[in-house]
C-alpha cells in the first residue's frame, strides 16, 4: 500500500469513527429484552390444556405460543408504545389513547402471527 493510500485510509477511519449509542437506548433495550424473556416464559407456564376448552381462554396462550422463544410480544409492545409516544407529543386524551393502544396491539399481534405462518 502506498503512503498516500495509507493516509487516505487513516482519514477514512477518523471520518467514520464508531458512534456510541445513547444511554437511554441501552437501558430501554435491556428492559425490553428482559421483559420479553420473562413474558414468554410466564405465558407458556400458564398454558393449561384444560382451560383451552373455553374459547375465551384462547387468546393469551395462543399469543404466547406465537411468541415462544421469539421477540414477538416485545415487538408488539415496543411498536405500540412508540406510536403512543409519537401521538402523545401532539395532545393527550387518556380514553382515546387506551383505545388506540388496544387497536395497535391487536394489529401488531395480527402482523406477527401472519409472519409466523409464512413458510420459511
Amino acid at each position: 500500500m502506498t503512503s498516500e493510500a495509507a493516509d487516505f485510509e487513516l482519514l477514512l477511519r477518523r471520518a467514520l469513527a464508531p458512534v456510541d449509542p445513547p444511554a437511554d437506548l441501552s437501558e430501554r433495550l435491556e428492559t425490553t429484552l428482559a421483559s420479553l424473556t420473562e413474558l414468554a416464559a410466564d405465558e407458556l407456564e400458564a398454558w393449561e390444556l384444560g382451560a383451552m376448552r373455553d374459547p375465551r381462554n384462547w387468546a393469551r396462550p395462543a399469543a404466547a405460543a406465537v411468541v415462544g422463544t421469539t421477540a414477538g410480544a416485545a415487538l408488539v409492545l415496543v411498536r405500540a408504545r412508540r406510536r403512543n409516544q409519537r401521538r402523545s407529543r401532539g395532545g393527550f386524551d387518556v380514553l382515546a389513547l387506551a383505545e388506540r393502544t388496544v387497536r395497535d396491539v391487536a394489529e401488531e399481534a395480527r402482523r406477527l402471527f401472519d409472519d409466523s405462518q409464512r413458510p420459511r
Binding site: 477514512l12 458512534v19 412508540r82
Partner: protein, 180 residues
C-alpha cells in the same frame, strides 16, 4: 441434530452478544440512515430480530463470530426501511450534530473540512460500496467478516473494498478541486 440449549443459557449468551455488539450495530445503523432517531429504531429492531432467530444462528454459525450475522440483519432491516418509506439514505454530514457527536474537538479543529468531504463522499457511493466502507472503518471488520455480512466471497469483498476506496478518493479529490 444438536439438542436445544436450555433457554436460560441461550438468554445469557444473547445478553453477552448484545453487550459486545450494541455499539457496532448502532454505528452501522447511524452511518446507514444518517440520524440518531432512525438509528435507534433500527438498532432496536435488529436486536429483537436477532433474539428471535438466535438459537438457529448459533447452531448454523459453527462457532464462528455472530457479528456479521447481526450486521446482516441490520442491513436487511435498513433496506426494508427505505423501501417502506420510499426514502433515500440521508447524507450523514447534513446533520450538523454528527461531526461534533462522533469526533473530538482536536480532530475537528485539525480537519473538519476534510472529514466533511469524506463523509459527503461516502454518502455518494453506491449502497454496497458505502456499506463495505462502514463495516471496515466504523466497525473494524476484516474482509472475511464483511464477506459474511454481505453474502459475498472473500475475493469479491476485497475487490469491492478496493473499488470503494478508489471511488471515494476520486470523489473527494473532485470536491477539493471544485470550491462550493
Amino acid at each position: 441434530m444438536e439438542p436445544s440449549k436450555p433457554k436460560a443459557r441461550l438468554d445469557a449468551e444473547f445478553s453477552d452478544l448484545y453487550r459486545a455488539h450494541l455499539r457496532d450495530v448502532y454505528s452501522y445503523s447511524y452511518y446507514r440512515v444518517g440520524n440518531h432517531h432512525d438509528a435507534e429504531d433500527l438498532t432496536e429492531q435488529t436486536f429483537l430480530q436477532a433474539y428471535r432467530h438466535f438459537e438457529r444462528a448459533q447452531r448454523e454459525s459453527d462457532g464462528r463470530p455472530l457479528r456479521p450475522w447481526l450486521i446482516r440483519i441490520a442491513h436487511n432491516l435498513a433496506a426494508n426501511y427505505y423501501r417502506d418509506r420510499a426514502r433515500r439514505p440521508q447524507t450523514p454530514i447534513e446533520d450538523a450534530s454528527i461531526l461534533s457527536a462522533t469526533h473530538d474537538t482536536e480532530t475537528l479543529v485539525e480537519g473538519r473540512d476534510e472529514l466533511r468531504r469524506i463523509l459527503d463522499g461516502v454518502a455518494e457511493l453506491p449502497d454496497d460500496r458505502r456499506e463495505a466502507l462502514i463495516m471496515r472503518f466504523a466497525l473494524g471488520m476484516d474482509n472475511r467478516e464483511i464477506a459474511r455480512a454481505m453474502g459475498r466471497t472473500d475475493g469479491a469483498t476485497k475487490v469491492l473494498l478496493h473499488r470503494a476506496t478508489k471511488q471515494l478518493e476520486e470523489i473527494v479529490r473532485k470536491r477539493e478541486e471544485t470550491p462550493r
